[in-house]
């Protein structure tokens, strides 16, 4: 690790970071990145060196665009209570444009973006937060007189890659939820000529964004993605398969209310509507807020915020399955099914009784006809 220690001394001297972030914190951060990417500790010095080089050269340039969003990803990234190493590193690398974080405003901000783009043509990492409205020529989100769509088109030639952070940028998210008044779509639906990487989540985990950056800096290529353009290192497994409550699921031990015995015992939250079985994300291993906790650990079922259309498909959040619209009302699938089975059974029974009654009447009539036939000397011709 001699090499790494050398690097770390440079790091300290660089003075790029606040005193609060010691060499030790930085080393820990590099270690965490190595674990996140599934690398051995031999990579820690390499990661440290790559970051340091990036900081010295102030590249790659990062431009952070915000469209139809709540700034929740930015918020998560800056962690209002204690700025993270991740944020510090990102800013140090070269966050050239970020509406919420940058000091400049108005024309000067726009100028900063142009300068960054021109200086790094084809090399800019464009981070997008928020969805892009497409209805009515996209007028529902404009910045400096340009629509989100126009801004994307303008930036596209300069980009190396688009990174959609948060479910809104990745899949359209909340703005896209039914009835989608603005015709919102995700970045992947409008970017045509450059690769798009999705980091969904509400918000996306900041460490995952850093992992992506580190992967690029260390290996000079983008990480492997799944079919929905999510990096496998973070979205390779379902929450359910990494969850610490999973043994209780397999045992069949469930919390049935938020304050019952099962909840206190840390039982599985499946029956409270947990969407862990349907959600790919890294929350259970990486956790949040300095790795302190994550929703299921804190006792709340996963709502599947990083999945496509979660607002339409995963609600009600405290039910396992969405309701079904049938006969003009929303109902639970089992209620609907059970009712239909009941109706069928009644129908079948009615049919049986009806057939029986008809046949009996026919038999009676036949017998009657027979008797009458016996009484008369001349039976009717057949």
């Amino acid at each position: 690790m001699g090499d790494g220690i050398q690097t770390l001394h440079t790091w300290e001297r660089s003075g790029l970071l606040d005193d609060a972030w010691s060499r030790r914190e930085f080393l820990k951060f590099c270690g965490r990145m190595a674990v996140l990417l599934g690398l051995s500790d031999a990579f820690i010095p390499r990661i440290a060196r790559a970051l340091e080089t990036a900081i010295q050269n102030r590249r790659p340039s990062i431009v952070w665009l915000e469209f139809q969003d709540c700034a929740g990803n930015t918020e998560s990234f800056t962690r209002a209570d204690s700025p993270s190493v991740a944020q510090a590193v990102l800013e140090a690398v070269s966050l050239d444009y970020h509406e919420t974080l940058m000091a400049a405003a108005g024309h000067r901000a726009e100028e900063a973006r142009h300068k960054a783009l021109e200086a790094h043509r084809g090399q800019v990492i464009v981070v997008v937060e928020g969805s892009i409205p497409t209805k009515d020529d996209g007028i529902y989100c404009t910045i400096g007189g340009k629509t989100a769509l126009q801004i994307i088109r303008e930036v596209e030639p300069y980009a190396l890659v688009f990174v959609a952070v948060g479910t809104c940028a990745a899949f359209g998210g909340l703005p896209k939820a039914n009835p989608n008044p603005t015709g919102a779509v995700g970045v992947e639906d409008v970017v045509r000529t450059k690769p798009v990487i999705n980091l969904p989540g509400c918000p996306a985990n900041p460490d995952v964004l850093m992992g992506l950056l580190v992967h690029y800096l260390v290996f000079n290529r983008l990480p492997d993605l799944d079919a929905q353009r999510r990096p496998l290192f973070a979205f390779g497994k379902r929450i359910h398969d990494t969850c610490e409550r999973r043994p209780h699921f397999d045992a069949g031990q469930f919390a049935l209310a938020f304050d019952d015995y099962g909840a206190r015992q840390g039982y599985c939250l499946y029956k409270l509507g947990c969407k862990g079985p349907e959600t790919y994300n890294i929350c259970a291993s990486l956790r949040w807020n300095m790795q302190a906790s994550w929703p299921v650990k804190a006792g709340h079922p996963c709502i599947g915020c990083s999945e496509r259309d979660f607002w339409d498909r995963f609600t009600p959040f405290y039910e396992r399955l969405p309701e079904v619209r049938a006969f003009g009302v929303e109902q639970r699938a089992d209620r609907l099914g059970g009712t239909l089975v009941g109706v069928t059974a009644v129908g079948v029974l009615a049919h049986a009784l009806y057939t029986w009654a008809v046949r009996r009447a026919e038999r009676k009539a036949e017998e009657l006809a027979k008797k009458e036939g016996e009484a008369k000397p001349n039976p009717p011709e057949g």
Partner: protein
């Protein structure tokens, strides 16, 4: 009702072994899948104790997946036999693509709705049954597709990952929606089972043919005069 002379009895082989095997495997697996599936989606138990010693839901899920493979096998067997089997089991005869088939279907439906109209027996499937069975096989296929999509997302090998991605793409990239569709199939089969059992028994009683025995032994026993005019005779 017409006088029954009970003149001629037809006793003939109808269902070949693969059809019967596929049917009863399908019956066993669908019932198992329905019960275990219901319990997976809505487990009514929650026993206290050390989780490492208990594996209740794990066992139920295992049985579900096992039965899922059995259903797949029986479906493939039936699918294959529809191309090489006898005339009663061929897809070519079962698919209602000709106009007269629809006329027969309507005819049978009418006699079910108005019991005064004579209800006939058939050597193979009754026309309406034919249609419903095709629908049921589509239902089986749908359950298999959704079921194996869910299953694929619990495995992490390249094969299952690819399969899972394909399956998910079919249903709008939301796994919870696949769960919902898969669960609704439980009720599809429950409704079918009620109607199926009733009509099988109804046919036995009303037309005095064998049905359940036929699905077991393959041979059908039927009075010629009970046969529909259009029914195939030996």
């Amino acid at each position: 009702m017409a006088e029954r002379s009970e003149s001629r009895i037809i006793y003939m082989k109808v269902w070949q072994a693969p059809i019967r095997i596929a049917h009863w495997l399908m019956f066993a697996s669908v019932v198992t899948l329905g019960i275990t599936g219901y319990l997976i989606g809505n487990p009514p138990f929650s026993a206290p104790g050390e989780a490492s010693r208990i594996y209740t839901l794990g066992t139920i899920r295992f049985l579900h997946f096992l039965a899922g493979y059995v259903l797949l096998a029986s479906f493939l067997l039936r699918l294959y036999w529809g191309f090489v089997g006898n005339r009663f089991s061929r897809w070519a005869t079962m698919l209602p693509v000709r106009k007269w088939q629809w006329r027969w279907i309507w005819g049978e439906t009418r006699s079910l709705l108005w019991p005064r109209i004579r209800y006939y027996a058939y050597t193979g499937h009754a026309p309406l049954g034919n249609l419903v069975y095709l629908l049921v096989y589509l239902g089986v296929l749908f359950s298999i597709v959704t079921g194996f999509t869910l299953y694929a997302h619990q495995q992490y090998t390249p094969f299952w990952r690819t399969l899972g991605a394909w399956g998910l793409a079919l249903f709008g990239y939301n796994l919870n929606f696949v769960h919902l569709l898969h669960r609704l199939m439980l009720w599809f089969f429950a409704i079918f089972l009620v109607v199926h059992l009733y009509l099988v028994v109804y046919t036995v009683v009303v037309t005095r043919t064998t049905q359940i025995d036929t699905m077991i032994s393959g041979k059908k026993f039927v009075f010629e005069e009970e046969l529909a005019p259009e029914a195939e005779k030996p």
